[in-house]
């Protein structure tokens, strides 16, 4: 047996053939589907909606926090670098203002100034003075750069325009990455000279190297053309080309998201004012979102468990409720049909009684007339000795007796409506029922036998209901048998409190699948051939009412055997009564 057939609710395969135009109201599978769908929708929709909102809000909150932290890091670092450069530019300005051109042209004085700068601020490599023609006529530092002409270099041209200058990192004449800070001093005669210093890249780089960046992040300076100005942890050394696009100019700190090429990145950046540098902080978003991923997994697991639990409860409750409705409806329909059947039987009983009464009177007249004829024949010797005449009169009287038996049976059946518990000889009841069906059995050559085994007590029961029970069972057997069949009924004492009547036939038998349903109302294998499907259902109900039970054993092609167990007393737990009288 499959799991489905074990779990399948009773209403699943139900089709109410008797519902007529209102059939759709009794489609329990449809009711169940609607109940499951609606309940699941009402229960799951708010949960899914709230979960989706919570998911989005949480994700956005985490992303906003990442952006905020990145922006703060960029801002703080920008302030540090700007301060570093502006401090050194101010120091040069101070030296320029504090010393005349002549003093600055003195290499010894310049050496002292460079030493003071290194001690006071740090980060200075060399110091030089360049005249208006771009010639560096005074130079102090580790390189031999005295006498070099810078007039054709871009920074020199730019300085002439702006008055102060911070260069990008470049190799220059010394072939070492460095950057230059220069200030221009205008002379009263319209000329000018430039005080120029190189910044030590090691100290400059340390400024960024010390910054801790979360999420496998990177922090570096890049030129506006996309050349790295400081070494990067992941994107190359100083003066390498940055594989990322430099973000568009903004005078404020910004945070944007980009991909490289499949890796999602969070990029914070700021353009440093009065410098060619763009400060960039690049973080790997996947790393940053790891905490969120764990939360997300918990959220999804919670959702999955909740949805599963809700669906199980919805399925269970819907199935239980629809099954209850189905069973209540089933009981209602069964009760209605029992009432309908009882009414039909009552009508039939009343009709039978009326017919029997109306027939009994003319029968009585025929009986008396025939009796009188016979009496008159007997008075005259010639007639009395004529066997033919007396035989004719006796034949009429015999036929009247036969008719009288039939009307008596009809009247016996009519009494069902008002029947009460009484002492009943069950074998007698079975013979009465067979009396109705004797002719059919004769026409169909069906062999009938009734055996009462042993000494049987009269049972306290309802005669009318017993007649109905055996009429239905015997009718069923007749329907299952072909002509020439055999119907055997045996009655025996099952135990102290019960007697058992077995009705067995050698008919077509009942299949295993039908066996489970034969006592269900409206189950019939004779649908369309006059079967209502109520006979065995009502029989079952009647046996239950009498305190008995019924069992069935059948083999397809061999026959069927119904065994009805009936109590000797209708209420064995009730007051003790005298020993039942023995019948037959």
């Amino acid at each position: 047996m499959s799991y489905w057939s074990m779990l399948k609710p009773a209403f699943w395969d139900h089709t109410d053939v008797a519902a007529g135009p209102h059939k759709h109201l009794f489609n329990f599978r449809r009711i169940w589907k609607s109940a499951v769908l609606l309940t699941a929708l009402v229960a799951l929709a708010p949960l899914l909606f709230m979960t989706a909102i919570d998911y989005n809000v949480s994700q956005k909150a985490i992303e906003a926090d990442i952006h905020y932290q990145t922006a703060r890091l960029v801002s703080n670092t920008r302030r540090s670098i700007s301060f570093f450069l502006s401090e050194r530019k101010s120091a040069l300005n101070f030296i320029d203002k504090d010393n005349s051109y002549a003093v600055l042209s003195d290499p010894l004085r310049m050496t002292v100034l460079l030493d003071n700068l290194k001690k006071g601020f740090g980060g200075f490599t060399d110091l030089g003075v360049i005249d208006a023609n771009g010639l560096q006529h005074t130079y102090v530092g580790p390189y031999n750069l005295g006498g070099i002409v810078y007039s054709d270099q871009d920074w020199f041209q730019a300085l002439k325009e702006s008055g102060a200058y911070i260069s990008e990192v470049f190799l220059g004449f010394r072939q070492q990455p460095h950057l230059v800070v220069a200030v221009k001093h205008n002379l009263p005669n319209g000329g000018f000279y430039v005080l120029r210093a190189s910044i030590d890249m090691q100290q400059f780089n340390e400024l960024l190297a010390e910054v801790e960046v979360s999420g496998r992040g990177d922090i570096f300076l890049v030129s506006r053309e996309g050349v790295l100005q400081t070494p990067s942890r992941f994107y190359g050394r100083a003066l390498d080309r940055l594989p990322l696009e430099v973000p568009a100019f903004s005078d404020k700190t910004q945070v944007v998201e980009t991909r490289l090429p499949a890796e999602p990145l969070v990029v914070g950046y700021a353009y440093l004012q009065d410098t060619p540098f763009v400060l960039m902080v690049v973080k790997q978003k996947t790393e940053l979102m790891k905490g969120w991923d764990a939360t997300r997994r918990q959220l999804v697991a919670f959702l999955a468990i909740s949805v599963t639990a809700i669906l199980l409860v919805v399925l269970g409750v819907s199935t239980y409720l629809v099954n209850q409705i189905f069973e209540a409806d089933h009981r209602r329909v069964t009760a209605l049909h029992r009432v309908e059947y009882a009414n039909k039987m009552a009508s039939l009983g009343r009709l039978s009684a009326g017919v029997a009464h109306e027939i009994n009177n003319p029968l009585a007249i025929i009986n008396e007339k025939a009796g009188l004829i016979k009496d008159l024949f007997m008075l005259q010797r010639s007639y009395a000795e004529d066997p033919k005449l007396i035989g004719l009169a006796d034949a009429i009287i015999y036929s009247v007796e036969r008719c009288a038996k039939i009307t008596q049976r009809l009247l016996g059946f009519a009494r069902h409506v008002d029947s009460k518990p009484q002492q009943v000889n069950i074998a007698e009841v079975i013979n009465e029922v067979l009396g109705f069906l004797g002719k059919e059995a004769e026409y169909r050559s069906i062999t009938l036998s009734v055996d009462a085994l042993g000494e049987l007590p009269c049972i306290e029961s309802d005669r009318g209901r017993l007649q109905e029970i055996f009429l239905n069972l015997i009718n069923n057997s007749f329907a299952a048998m072909s002509n020439g069949g055999r119907l055997a009924i045996t009655v025996r004492r099952a135990d102290t409190d019960f007697i058992a009547a077995t009705v067995s036939d050698n008919g077509c038998g009942i299949s295993e699948s039908d066996m489970k349903r034969i006592f269900e109302p409206f189950f019939s294998t004779k649908t369309g051939k006059g079967g209502t499907g109520l006979g065995l259902s009502i029989t079952y109900g009647l046996i239950q009412e009498l305190g008995g039970s019924v069992s069935v054993h059948s083999e397809v092609g061999k026959g069927t055997e119904f065994t009805v167990r009936l109590p000797v007393k209708m209420n064995p737990s009730g007051e003790k009564k005298n020993e039942s009288p023995t019948c037959g």
């Binding site: 009464h357 009177n361 007249i365 008396e368």
Partner: protein
């Protein structure tokens, strides 16, 4: 022994009376309760055989009225509405020990008449 048979079926009651007469029981008949009561005004009977179900006045009411006029009278009821199994129940209902179901057997009727008169 004089018996009055009362039944609304004239053919039945007349034939039955004739058969009883042939067997030495003086039987007269009436086809309604009124006719039976008017007969009682002029004649006396030892016993009445009454049909239970008759138009206008049924056998039970007729029995009461006849018993009022003739307290020693015995009664047997007959009916077409019943069977032999109804005998005991029917008899207790009408307050009589004698209750027969149509169609009657003449010998049964005579036996019941004799039995009733001897009690």
């Amino acid at each position: 022994m004089k018996v009055l048979l009362v039944d609304d079926e004239k053919e039945l009651v007349a034939t039955l009376a004739e058969r009883l007469n042939l067997r030495g029981i003086e039987a007269q008949w009436a086809t309604s309760a009124e006719a039976a009561l008017s007969r009682l005004q002029t004649e006396s009977f030892d016993m009445a055989v009454l049909d239970v179900k008759m138009p206008k006045m049924d056998g039970l009411l007729l029995k009461k009225q006849m018993q009022d006029r003739c307290p020693t009278m015995k009664f047997i009821f007959v009916t077409g509405h019943g069977s032999n199994q109804d005998f005991m129940a029917g008899a207790s209902e009408v307050g009589s020990d004698y209750y027969l179901v149509k169609p009657l057997k003449i010998d049964d009727l005579i036996a019941k008449i004799r039995e009733a008169l001897q009690r």
